[in-house]
Symmetry: C2
Subunit: 409 residues, 2 copies
């Protein structure tokens, strides 16, 4: 494949992460090394902004500022949730031609990969030689072909630190705490709460984890909670925002939330409705079972999971930079299109490879937690999952506890 | 005042903070230096546990473990929300006499100071020479006599980091974000959101801050939000959980939440009800004013504000240690009772003093944000407040932004 001279454009799409800008900077720094690349444009707010010709010149940014941007959470170019029609694609190509763009990079999750795939297919039909690369990111960790995705490790670290605090908080004040964790259709991020468990304290929380892959009933959750609460006086529960009601086969949230985006996804974050629903249901269940005045609190962990400032997993940050670089390397080396996937090639020491895969193989359809990562009762994760997760998060905070042996006079 | 030989007991009470265990360790390490102190007991779950004779021996803890505990959020001894009756006090004194306790330390907020004050008054009546010290902590920053309270700086840093992320998140995806911040009757912690504002970017959020000290109407909030949203396409709003409805003179949350503790405080945290209430009201207000389909999200920042693991303001941690030490110093040097207050004695460089004050002067009644810290419209803080806050939080994350000048062909 001949080397193509031309300009490049980079866009970001979907929900922010703490390290998505690492990938952006990775693409830029690699492209800068290649003389066949002219201008390096940033498209503001993904293809939505590109359709309005809102391009900025990333080549003008100083290295020092790019490094600051890399450490900053949330899409520095702005984002969008926008699925293009065929007409949008034709219009976009007219614009890209005007800007002499031959290289197109789109950083995002499975919906963004779908967008890249649509663009790529229609570019082929239009005989427009556009090199289309998807660069993976999602806190949901649900991209196929990938061992894990950039953004997940940092979000998982946030969730684990949050649950550590919750368990200590509830050890101090007792009661039941139900936290709703992001993740839409896959339980990866909710499962990460398990990393909060203190290896030296078998009674530490979280005690229960419910993921969308394993439908449950309110009664099952209620019984699980009361059993732990009776034993320890507290119970810390991680519930995925997408957890599914066994009776209806649909997410509990479906009946509570109406808003839907252009990819057909329900708006699950940015509301406390699901947490408050569980609070009411579990309190009622407890009363029916003779447990009066159960102290029950619920937090919905919220946007901090994907954009808490100054916080990251170092491994995640490094890998996010690498997928950006790798996408640029592939594009200039003659590959016409694809997505970059992270493959794990070693466990001890932990080691990964970055490989090109087909756009269609990561687009649209998401990847669930495999069965061997969920326990038989569907209310916790397995040790295999913990082993899988630990290297992605790196160091977690150290916890000190007092010896609580009661003094006998 | 003669030096009294005897044992000491330490309790923790009220809501956890990220640095409350620093104060615990501060008391312990200071007491260890004094030969007149025999055993150093920890009372589990405050006076509630002491009434059940649940004491542990803190003298047996290694220095290394105490240092780990100091870095761990949430009350290591366990906590309670419990206001003792006179009968409880008599009963407690019988128990404390049995354990030869002459020194009593209670780490907590204004309710805990009230408990300490009640104990102290009844001890006097009973002619029980008990040295009663209150050690301040509260993320609410609402203790009288104090420039600020241990726990506040760390919580403020968490809130600021969270709002930084929120502003970046909403810069990327646009829309309105309303975050509910802890703080019950005083707006100190909500006001801390202002530290998220990027000094180099006047359009950065948060854009609006509502505190309980300044009652508002939904219409006022709605108009403020629409004005910012029209100008920037986004609006980041910090709302205190205790914000007051100008029409009724009562917190908006009052009509949404029923649960009350033994000090008469409403349960405001651990529910998304208030955030969801504002979402509905502001969406309705926007529609009435011709703004359809406003993208509006709400997060209730939750327990992470007081117990996110591995996170702290270094200044706050140091001062929390110091108030514990100072309380122990006062108690053994002959002062019979009191609370330790932080007084600011210098602004540049920032410097504080730790002084003994009367228990009654910090008990029960809280301290509001003063008028000069809130702007005239009651929808943001003043520069004076930012100057007050900055040294308590220390370093905040660095934010990098791209130059968004649109390329012209």
């Amino acid at each position: 494949m001949a080397i193509v001279k031309g300009n490049a454009v980079i866009g970001q799409s979907g929900g922010p992460t703490m390290v998505i800008n690492q990938s952006l900077v990775g693409v830029v720094e690699e492209l800068k090394k290649h003389p066949e690349i002219g201008k390096i444009y940033g498209g503001l707010n993904g293809i939505k902004g590109m359709l309005e010709e809102r391009f900025i010149d990333l080549g003008k940014e100083s290295e020092a500022n790019l490094e600051r941007v890399a450490l900053t959470p949330a899409a520095a170019l702005g984002s969008c949730r926008f699925k293009p029609t065929e007409d949008d694609c034709h219009k976009l190509f007219e614009i890209l031609k005007k800007y002499d763009v031959k290289y197109f990079f789109y950083i995002g999750g499975n919906d963004s990969a779908e967008t890249a795939n649509i663009l790529n297919e229609i570019a082929k039909k239009d005989s427009y030689e556009l090199r289309v690369f998807h660069v993976p990111k999602t806190i949901d960790n649900d991209l196929r072909e990938n061992d894990h995705t950039p953004g997940y490790g940092s979000a998982a670290k946030y969730v684990a630190s949050s649950f550590m605090g919750n368990d200590l908080d509830c050890t101090a004040l007792l009661g039941v705490k139900v936290d709703i964790v992001m993740g839409r259709n896959a339980g990866w991020l909710t499962a990460a709460a398990a990393l909060a468990k203190d290896p030296d304290d078998k009674d530490s929380g979280p005690h229960l984890i419910y993921v969308p892959e394993y439908p449950v009933t309110i009664n099952e959750i209620g019984m699980d909670i009361l059993a732990v609460h009776e034993r320890l006086g507290r119970c810390i529960v991680a519930v995925s925002e997408g957890v599914v009601d066994k009776y209806t086969g649909k997410p509990f949230a479906d009946s509570l939330i109406d808003e839907v985006d252009s990819h057909g996804n329900k708006q699950l974050s940015g509301t406390g409705a699901l947490g408050d629903f569980f609070t009411v249901e579990i309190k009622a269940f407890a009363e029916q079972n003779g447990v009066k005045n159960l102290r029950l609190r619920s937090d919905t962990l919220g946007y901090a999971q994907r954009s808490f400032a100054g916080f990251r997993s170092d491994v995640d940050a490094k890998e996010a930079r690498m997928v950006g670089r790798k996408a640029a390397q592939c594009a200039v080396s003659g590959d016409i299109d694809g997505s970059i996937a992270i493959k794990r090639v070693g466990d001890s020491p932990y080691e990964v490879d970055f490989v090109r895969v087909e756009l269609s193989s990561v687009a649209r359809i998401t990847r669930d937690l495999p069965e061997n990562f969920i326990n038989d009762k569907g209310n916790y994760v397995t040790d295999e999952f913990i082993e899988y997760l630990r290297p992605l998060v790196g160091e977690v905070p150290t916890i000190g506890k007092l010896n609580k042996e009661i003094v006998k006079l």
